[in-house]
Amino acid sequence: MTKIKSLADLKKIKGDLQSKISLREKSDTPEGRVLVKVAMATCGIASGSKEVMEYMIDELEKRSIDAIVTQTGCMGYCYAEPTIEVSLPGSEPVVYGYVDTKKADEIIEKYIRNQELVDGIIPVNYQTIEKDKEE
């Protein structure tokens, strides 16, 4: 084992070790991570979903929350754009409407971090084909 010779050394080693651990955690299990889908159809983009998406990507990384942010098509709630769908591990996806950067901040802090529901949820009013099949 080589000696650690300075605080800078220590920090560098820590950085290496941390990335090693987070890599291991990230494995190939997306269901174990937070999944954020931002609706980026014309309606969404026109209402500012691009800013929201960039904000989510930056902030989640800054606050070291292990999440995947992807774009998706129109979810049909065009009246409430920008909309995002957040899936926490082990819970049903939740769709939020009228999301601006302020709202996004609230969602990250309250819902993603602490699982507290935030105002502005759009109730799911459709069923997907897969669900129909199961039944």
């Binding site: 220590l10 494995s27 269901e31």
Partner: protein, 592 residues
């Protein structure tokens, strides 16, 4: 995916080491070693339901896992991504399964500072500690702060000694730093003598490096280059992990000469104790380390002036040290924002007794006993009624229902006649006799008194005899007065903390449960039905159906009666073993 297996002493006793082996083997066999990492960690605190396995990142919390469950966990959870439902924790109140540990009442109110890494990292792998900000506080202090600045930070944090006394840690460091000497020492007190308290052991087993890091910081602040950990030989696992930690830290150059290029030298050695309660007292501890008898001496001189080998010595408890690195990482201000005005931060308590969730918890100062017992602890076992809670071990006192809403901190507990102590918390229900509880603690003190001063050596023995007389129904009212007077004398005249606090259980039970003492003395009755000399077992004729269960199970054959006839107990032969009461399905046996 990470599978964290608890490797604390409690879970090990239930074969968690075998469980770890099996899990690792299964992972290998399924070819998952790239994706799944099985790690042994320190105590999760939820000892009631050990062994614990926690699966990250989905936070699944499996309880009471047996080595044989390994195959199912790997096959189901790791391969198919389905939780093994039968191993999930079931809430004692609403009987619901809780998969995510964040949803458990046990963890909701906890803030983990001293226990931050317990149950998170592998204590035998320094790399995991480094990844969790390990030794960063030390690096920062050694290269960016002067000893004075670092000490000031400690004073500003308001951290007080977690061993029981509650002396401000920063002030203690400052005093030791101002005494000039060619050699000074830092001592970690890991003697942990309170029956029922196991937080220090759990920290050393789960996060030994945090204590080493804090000792280096302490050494830098007071100008000491040698550290000693005084630990009882009864903690083999903690000793083993400490040894591994010291070796690894030396290999990385985090202990030894010129640490992190700062020019500061510091190294740590382990000293073993034989497990004497009095050696938790710092002067007795120092004498024991010197090879002398573990007896206290009068203070002053304080160890800060003349301690180990006559040199200035700073003694801090394990839990105190475990708080130190976080304070430098997050700042004194952050630490001081948690807790009450005069007691900052958190305190670890060992919950034990008649409570649903036995285990180790860390809560912010200022939380109430009610929250600890009924929310985190999950309430009293078997739905019985809360009677009292004993805090501070043999030196503390019994608190009752009326104290339940008192915010817990050093000063409040003293004000109501108990003390923080090292953090043992024993909960008692309606079946516990308070006189017997006091007697139990006195029995311990008599055993552990070192015998140096007579108030403690002789006085506690006499106290015990008086209590014994009361529990046998042979005492009179004069004895009660004597009990109180003698308690006061012992408290005021003993040499060290052991004797000065040993009458606390007696005084506090007398203050809070006088009626119980009186019924023992005046009516020769034990209201809780636990003092054997004062109770008798009787069969209630209306309830007895003559099933013969009691007679068949009586070990001394003192119950007679034909089938379907009323049974009777021969009081002259009964040994009050409780077997008949336990076996009777018709509530026909009663304690009178």
């Amino acid at each position: 995916m990470h599978m964290l297996v608890c490797g604390g002493t409690g879970c090990r006793a239930s074969a968690s080491d075998m469980l770890y082996e099996n899990l690792s083997k299964e992972v290998q066999e399924q070819g998952l070693q790239e994706d799944v990492q099985v790690v042994t960690t320190g105590c999760f605190g939820f000892c009631e339901k050990g062994p614990i396995v926690k699966v990250i990142p989905d936070n699944t919390f499996y309880v009471s896992v047996e080595p044989g469950d390994a195959r199912e966990i790997v096959a189901e959870h790791a391969v198919k991504g389905r939780r093994v439902e039968r191993l999930l924790y079931v809430d004692p109140v609403n009987k619901e399964q809780i998969a995510d540990s964040k949803g458990m009442g046990f963890y909701k109110k906890q803030i983990r500072i001293a226990l931050r890494n317990c149950g998170l990292i592998d204590p035998e792998n320094i790399d995991e500690y480094l990844a969790a900000d390990g030794y960063e506080a030390m690096g920062k202090v050694l290269s960016e702060l002067s000893p004075e600045e670092a000490t000031q930070e400690m004073i500003d944090s308001g951290l007080r000694g977690r061993g029981g006394g509650g002396f401000p840690t920063g002030i203690k460091w400052q005093i030791a730093s101002k005494v000039p000497a060619d050699q000074k020492y830092v001592v970690c007190n890991a003697d942990e003598g309170d029956p029922g308290a196991f937080m220090d052991r759990s920290i050393l087993e789960g996060d030994p490096h945090s204590v080493l890091e804090a000792m280096v910081i302490n050494g830098y602040c007071i100008g000491a280059t040698k550290g000693l950990i005084y630990i009882r030989a009864e903690y083999p696992l903690a000793i083993n992990r400490l040894k591994i930690a010291i070796k690894q830290a030396r290999e990385y150059g985090l202990l030894g000469k010129d640490i992190l290029g700062s020019g500061f030298d510091f190294d740590v050695e382990i000293r073993y104790g034989a497990g004497a309660f009095v050696c938790g007292e710092e002067t007795a501890l120092i004498h024991s380390m010197e090879g002398e008898r573990g007896e206290p001496t009068f203070k002053p001189p304080f160890p800060a002036q003349s301690g180990y080998l006559g040199k200035p010595t700073n003694v801090n408890n394990v839990e105190t040290f475990a708080n130190v690195p976080v304070i430098y990482n997050k700042g004194a201000k952050w630490f001081a924002s948690i807790g009450t005005e005069k007691s900052k931060g958190t305190k670890v308590f060992a919950l034990a007794g008649k409570i649903n969730n036995v285990g180790l918890i860390e809560v912010p100062m200022g939380i109430t006993l009610r929250e600890v017992i009924f929310e985190i602890g999950g309430g009293i076992k078997d739905g019985k009624k809360f009677r009292a809670v004993q805090t501070g071990g043999p030196s503390g006192g019994c608190l009752t229902e009326k104290h339940l809403d008192t915010p817990i901190d050093f000063d409040n507990l003293l004000a109501v006649g108990s003390m923080m102590g090292s953090g043992g918390m024993i909960v008692m229900d309606e079946d516990d006799c308070m006189v017997s509880v006091a007697k139990f603690y006195l029995d311990f003190t008599v055993e552990e008194s070192c015998g140096k001063c007579s108030p403690c050596r002789v006085g506690n023995k006499r106290l015990y005899e008086l209590l014994d007389k009361i529990t046998k129904g042979q005492a009179n009212k004069e004895d009660l007065d004597n009990l109180r007077n003698l308690s006061m004398v012992i408290r005021d005249t003993s040499l060290c903390g052991l004797g000065q606090t040993s009458p606390n259980p007696v005084l506090s039970t007398m203050d809070n449960f006088m009626e119980e003492y009186l019924s023992h003395v005046e009516d020769q009755r034990c209201p809780a039905g636990s003092c054997k000399e004062l109770i008798r077992y009787e069969i209630i004729p209306e309830n007895c159906v003559g099933c013969t269960a009691c007679a068949r199970n009586c070990p001394v054959n003192c119950i007679s009666g034909e089938r379907k006839q009323l049974h009777t107990i021969d009081q002259s032969l009964c040994i009050k073993c409780n077997a008949c009461l336990e076996k009777c399905k018709f509530n026909a046996v009663a304690i009178i």
